[in-house]
Every structure is written in C-alpha cells, then in structure tokens.
C-alpha cells in the first residue's frame, strides 16, 4: 500500500504536479474548473501533501520542542510540569503551533535534538553554559531557557530566592528553630551535572532568613531530596531516624513537602500542630491534599506562556535580522501562600 504523492494526483487529473500544488496553495493561478477538478480528485484519492517535504521546503514545521531534563514518564509524574506544559500549550493553541516534548535519549540530548524537526526550543532546567545548549546557539536555532541561568539567551525564571526567604522567615518568626529543610538534590551538583541555579537560589533564600534572624544554619538539618513524594517521605524518615525532631519543615518543592507530611503523619505527628510545613511551587496538588499545603506560589502556567512568547519574539527578531537586541530576561514574582499546614 503505497502512499500516493502529488505526481499520482497530477497524472490522474492529466495536469502537471505544479498545477496540483497551485490548486491548494495558489488557486488564482489556475482556472476555476481546473482547481475544483484537481481538488475533487485529490480528495477522492485521499491525497495530502507530505508534511516532511513541506517542512523541508518551507524551512519551518510549525512544531516547537520542549527540552526536558528527565524522561517524559518521569516528568509527567510531576504536577509542576502539568501546569507548565498547560501554559505552553494554551499559547500553542492560540498560535496554531504543535508541541513536541523531547527528553534525553539514553542520557544524551544530542540525539533527541538531531532528529527533531522543530522550529525552536523551550529548554527547561539547563543553563546557558550547558554543552547542548551552546550547540544550538552555534547552529542558529532559536531557543528560550526556563529555570536556567542565562545572560545572552532569552530566559524565564522566577524569584526563587525571595520566595524561599519569605517562607523561612515566616517559620523563624513564629519561633521555630528546629526546621528540617528538604532541599532539591540538584543544589548539591553531582560530578557530571552542573549545579542548578534554581536550587541554589532557593537555598540562598532560606539561608538569608536564617542569617538575618541570627539563627545558626546547621548542615545536618539540610537534606538533598529528589523532587518527588517518595523523596520527601524517605528523607523525612531518614532525618527522624538520625534523631532529628523538627517542629517545622521547608520543602523546596511541593511534592517533597507532601511526601514528608505523609511520613510525618505515619509517625503520629499532627500537621500543623506538631509540624508546620511550607512547600514550594504551589502546584495543583497543594490544593488537593488535606490539610491544604502552605507554599510559595510561583506563576507556573504563565511561565509556560511567557516562554513561548519569548520564543516567538526570537523568530521575529531573526526574520528581521535584528541581532543586536539584548535578549529578554524575564523574572516572574513569587509569594507566600498560607493554607492549612501552617497555623
């Protein structure tokens, strides 16, 4: 079963392939009857122009790629990304763009990038200095960084530091001194990974509140956790078994905080009476659990929209050959939202 092409239609209609192309793209170049005859035959034969050939010649596919730091199956387990992707896709719908998610293929982004027919990238969680990112720059492909450090490339970030600062300050002001901090593990950079700006900034925010209040920063009360409910559970348990007895908890992501709460409840603690908890992100999950999670709100949905807006701006700048414009660095605000896990 061979897929029919423009030549097949042309032959059946007794015209040249050019005429078939015109019938769809420039009907005014042909007589009215010829156009309708060609279209009739095309529909009848089930013809549709080959998207690859079309994208090749048009030098654009109408697809944007979202470069993710983890396999898609992992990302989809994270409510933060649900909202973020919703933001991007709401903009996609408006702009008639398609969305393609790209994850590292057996560890490397290179392969994923190499075979993706996309017009530009939204890159999540990588810094400008990252190898694959600089390759894209070299190749002249437009991209926008999200949650990654950049100076030359356009980027969207949030005010991680001040959100964290507010959260820690709130707990300290309420008199808590034994605060367990479950930090993103990316703040502690493994050998092969770059230290991640987001995690660092959140840590600095917590730290600043401690310093300003004159509270000692104790390293054994700060634990790295993977950003998932399971990570939060395991780290709370581990801290408890080390003999720590926190009266409050700062989770650098909602999922971590929620996991920790479940571990705490399992140990008979009452939230918030025995343990006050503040998460980070204000993902949808925060509002679904009981008691509802106090957390640092960030505009996740808007972040996705803004990222795509910037990317579209890059295309326009490239089309008009504006290269000296300073890349836009957007920083969205954060704020503390107090709900049921604080008193």
């Amino acid at each position: 079963m061979k897929r029919i092409n423009i030549a097949d239609v042309a032959q059946k209609a007794g015209v040249s392939p050019t005429a078939v192309s015109f019938a769809f793209n420039k009907p005014e170049q042909l007589s009215r009857e010829t156009v309708s005859r060609i279209r009739m035959i095309a529909v009848e034969m089930g013809y549709m122009p080959n998207p690859m050939a079309r994208a090749l010649i048009a030098q654009r596919s109408g697809i944007i790629g979202v470069l993710l730091p983890q396999p898609l199956s992992t990302v989809l387990a994270n409510p933060y990304f649900h909202t973020f992707l919703q933001g991007i896709s709401s903009m996609c719908d408006e702009q008639a763009l398609s969305l393609m998610t790209l994850s590292p293929m057996n560890g490397s982004l290179d392969q994923a990038i190499a075979r993706s027919p996309v017009d530009g990238y939204i890159i999540v969680g990588y810094n400008e200095a990252h190898h694959e990112v600089s390759l894209l720059r070299k190749r002249g492909i437009q991209y926008v960084l999200v949650d990654g450090d950049a100076t030359r490339a356009p980027s969207v970030n949030i005010d991680d530091e001040s959100g964290a600062y507010e959260a820690a300050k709130y707990l300290i002001q309420k008199g808590h001194r034994d605060i367990l901090i479950l930090m993103l593990d990316t703040a502690f950079g493994h050998a092969d990974e770059q230290v991640h700006g987001v995690a660092m900034r959140r840590m600095h925010g917590y730290r600043r509140a401690y310093d300003e209040a004159g509270v000692a920063w104790r390293h054994e009360w700060v634990r790295p956790s993977v950003s998932s409910m399971l990570g939060g559970e395991q780290n709370f348990d581990a801290a408890y078994e080390q003999g720590l007895r926190p009266t409050a908890l700062l989770g650098a992501a909602d999922a971590i905080a929620i996991g920790a709460i479940q571990a705490a409840i399992r140990r008979g603690l009452r939230v918030p009476q025995d343990l006050e908890v503040i998460g980070y992100d204000d993902s949808l999950l925060a509002n679904l659990i009981q008691p509802r999670l106090s957390t640092v709100h960030q505009p996740i949905f808007e972040k996705g929209r803004v990222a795509l807006e910037l990317l579209i701006g890059e295309w326009e700048a490239a089309a008009e050959r504006i290269t000296d414009v300073r890349a836009k660095q957007v920083r969205l605000p954060t704020h503390l939202v107090l709900r049921g896990t604080t008193t």
Copy 2:
C-alpha cells in the same frame, strides 16, 4: 545567520557532500583519516543534518503522534491522561521514539494531521467510523484506536461495562436505592459528535446492575457531567437543588466523583457515612485525596504501553506486507477497588 548544510562542510573539508554523508552513516566507505577530518570540521562548524531532509528520505521520522480529543491544555488538566501518556512515553523511551501530542486545531483534526511528520498515530477517544480516522486508513498511515470502537483497526479498550456493573452492584447490595449517577456527557451525544462508546458501556454496566437487582432506573437521578472536578461539583449541587437527596454516588470518572465529594462536604455531608462514593479510572488523584476514593481500577499506564506496542506491530506487519492479519483488539480488565469513600 544562515544554517550550515552538508555542502558547506563538504567545501571546507575539500570533499563531496557524499563523503560527508558517508563520514556519518557509512564510515567504512572512506579512509580513516578522511572520516576523522570530516567529523572534526563538522563539529567545529556545528553541523548537524537537517532532520526534515533526513525524515523525508528515510520515509520515517521516529515520531509518533497522539491524537487527543481536546486541546492539550484541557487534556493536561486530567490526571487520567497523565498516567496514560506516561505509559506511552515509557515505551517511547525504550524504543527511542519521540512523542508528539496533537489536538484539534480550531476544531479540526485535519489540519493537525496534515502538518505532522509522524510515523503513526495513537488515537484517543475516536471511533473507527470517524471521518478523520477513515482518512488515515485511506492514506495508508498506521494507527491504533484507544477508547474507541473498532472492528477493522487495532484498538485498546477496557472492560468498561463490567467495571461499572460491579460498582453499581456493590452500592445496591449495601441497600442504597437513592444513588446519584454522574455520567460522562459524551454518553448523550451532541448533534455534531458521535455517541462515545466508553460512556455508553459504563452506563450499560450501571444499568445492568439495576436491572438484575430489580431496582428502578430513574432518569432524573442520572446526570451528564463534563469530565472534570468542576463538572462534578456543579452537577452535585444542581441535583441537590432539584431536591434529590442521594445516599450514594456513582461517578463515571474520578474527577467527577472528587468534585462531587467536595460539593457534598460543603453541604455538611460526611463521606462515607452520609454519602458513599465510587469513582471510575483509579487515577493517581484517587489515592491522594482524603478519604481515599473507592473507584473502578483500570490499567491506565499499561493501556498506553499496549497501544504503542500495537502500533509497532502495525509497522512490522506493513513492512512485511502482511495485510490479511486480523487487527488486534485488546480489552484490558477492570476491577473494583474499595478505599475510604465506601464503608
């Protein structure tokens, strides 16, 4: 800033474009030094073969398209799809495939299909008879239907009917007679849409339990709801204001059931003491709310995996020109899971 192509690299290396292609794809055709020289220059220039050209000639892009019934931003609000997409993407990761989501573009799937360079489709929530689906068949593009009725095309469904039957039977056996049923609105087919098989089968399952127990089926106790928490809330409220006082509730989707529970709690009802609730799907949400939702479990993750497996099977069959093999119709089992919203 022009994107460099194979000819640029060839020129700089003083060889033909063919040699550059060989350096990457068939290095044994060239001398060792030439290969390494070309590769050096390619890296230096930041060259990477154009994915569209590559896909055009290879007649495959390594991308699979997931055709969704709603805009992506709507789909991502639904926990059912999170798990489903996770299932597909776990398989994608293994097979080194990329995943692209496709939603109707201003109402029409046609456009979305026309510009998508994909090797095959997983089509969610459409029947075989649907116009766009039959177009794909005509064009010889492989696809698999999920949650849609099919006889000729391969499909993945679940045992909607018996899951619903079990749920309704359980509540009836416990003595409930005033059961509010919040049905999927797709069971009541609008003018421009086809009646949706999933919704119909679930309704028939509920109905069969009523009939077998000799309980009267009262239409005013069955309400169509959109598949979201908001839909569940609004419909519970509406039913209550009509004077209905249910002692139990069947939600044809978890989101509906959860929304209804929140509306019920707001009215001072205790769940499960005053209102027993059984949802449908067993999405992750069901385990996160308090009390944990009793529901009909379906293997959502596996459904995604199986769908992609079938699609890969289609490719293989097409490659071997096997056309007379009967298309595989997979039906996965469902079962009732009792948690905290039933006594």
